[in-house]
């Protein structure tokens, strides 16, 4: 085994599960294996670019973000095409967010999350789901730690605001419906 392959093997063994989970959190179950394989294919091809030590995983996440983003774009196009080509029965698997059973509040926070910008969403997911600290976020997102901290705080506030709007609207709607029954 060459030194490059040996290093790749170490990275693969150490981070496969985390990258797989990253992909699982962002895409449907039937695409997770392919997405994970794409991430490590990139790592294998670009092994010289993979940073050493603790920065390897955030680097992999940044690649994974690209892979998953591409899948999202593909899914977006597929949805449009699906409407045009429904006659041939094209159907697409739902995202994990659609199928995970969770409390209403948690589902609503995901809905609120979707109202944020893509960069805010990824920042929050990396921070909360992948539990990256500001240093790792800096590597994953290619921005300074100061910028990470500022953006993270803003993103949390935006998410809370969207969540409040969503829950307030639903509460109002619910009250209106109950009133209508009278």
């Amino acid at each position: 085994m060459s030194p490059a392959d040996k290093r790749f093997a170490e990275i693969y063994s150490a981070h496969f599960k985390a990258v797989h989970a990253y992909c699982r959190r962002r895409t449907s179950a039937d695409r997770v294996d392919d997405a994970t394989a794409e991430v490590f294919l990139a790592a294998w091809r670009r092994i010289d670019e993979v940073p050493p030590g603790a920065e390897a995983l955030p680097w992999l996440y940044s690649v994974a973000y690209g892979v998953v983003s591409n899948a999202w774009r593909g899914a977006s196009r597929r949805k449009k095409l699906d409407r045009k080509l429904r006659s041939i029965g094209a159907e697409f698997a739902p995202l994990p967010d659609d199928v995970v059973v969770m409390r209403q509040e948690a589902r609503q926070v995901l809905t609120a999350l979707e109202r944020l910008s893509r960069s805010d969403r990824e920042l929050l997911r990396l921070s909360i789901w992948e539990e990256l600290d500001s240093s790792s976020l800096s590597v994953a997102l290619g921005i300074s730690k100061d910028a990470v901290n500022q953006r993270l705080s803003r993103a949390r506030r935006r998410l809370a605001r969207e969540y409040d709007r969503l829950t307030t609207k639903q509460t109002t709607s619910s009250v209106a419906q109950e009133g209508g029954a009278w």
Partner: protein
């Protein structure tokens, strides 16, 4: 009610589809086997054996054959233009396309519009949705500085409509480049509702015009100039330029 930052973080944490990595079940990984797979895949990607041939292609209708042929013509036109675009790209003084370019595009569009097998290209390059398939090598018009090679890319033509215009997409996928936004990109040719008059073309992503990295200005470009993202292509001058699309 006002939700605090800590509350929203807690809620989002609760919504984590994979809350506990230690308990996350994934299949056992054999690194040596995976490395062998990567080697095989790499060899496959660089093998000319994967180039579509007449014998290997499924039986297709005459219409689809015609569409494929015409798209090759389009690709040839791009090849010529790319070959002229090394170094400083010439600035087109007349954005009006030549008759031959227009004819080829219109013919390709009409052919795709009127027939061809609706096919599904599964997985190979990320096109796992129904498309009208026109697989052919693309290296003929790829500059050598790009990462795309003949056996590593595929062109898919997709016809659709939107905003009162018909469009015809050509997409190219590069399985070797998995860092967005390089993976898939597309040209979108727009046609007026009567299906006869090209009204413009420009980059799109997620259905919205987008300015490629490092460039400013409208997509489709001034002077009929178009740019390709992330430096994967040289600048080249081609296409149908509609000032209205650039807000002029």
């Amino acid at each position: 009610m006002v939700t605090t930052e800590s509350q929203i973080v807690a809620l989002m944490d609760e919504a984590n589809p994979v809350p506990d990595l230690d308990k996350y079940q994934v299949n056992e990984v054999d690194v040596a086997a995976y490395l062998a797979t990567l080697e095989r895949r790499s060899q496959k990607m660089t093998s000319t054996d994967t180039r579509p041939t007449t014998e290997k292609q499924p039986k297709r209708s005459m219409t689809l054959r015609l569409a494929t042929l015409l798209l090759v013509v389009v690709a040839g036109v791009i090849a010529i233009l790319l070959s002229q675009s090394d170094g400083d790209a010439p600035v087109a003084t007349d954005p009006t396309p030549s008759t031959s370019d227009e004819s080829a595009l219109l013919a390709a569009y009409a052919a795709a519009q009127n027939g061809g097998d609706v096919d599904t290209v599964m997985g190979l390059f990320g096109f796992n949705y129904p498309v009208k398939r026109h697989p052919f090598a693309v290296n003929d018009y790829m500059d050598s500085s790009t990462e795309l090679r003949a056996t590593e890319a595929l062109i898919a033509g997709i016809r659709g409509s939107g905003a009162g215009l018909e469009f015809f997409d050509i997409e190219i996928g590069d399985p070797n480049s998995v860092t967005a936004p390089d993976v898939t990109f597309s040209w979108r040719f727009y046609y007026a509702a009567d299906g006869t008059t090209p009204s413009g073309w420009f980059w799109e992503r997620d259905g919205a015009p987008e300015v490629p990295q490092g460039e400013a200005g409208c997509i489709g470009g001034r002077d009929g100039k178009a740019w390709v993202q992330a430096g994967r292509f040289h600048e080249f001058n081609w296409g149908f330029y509609d000032p209205a699309m650039c807000g002029e």
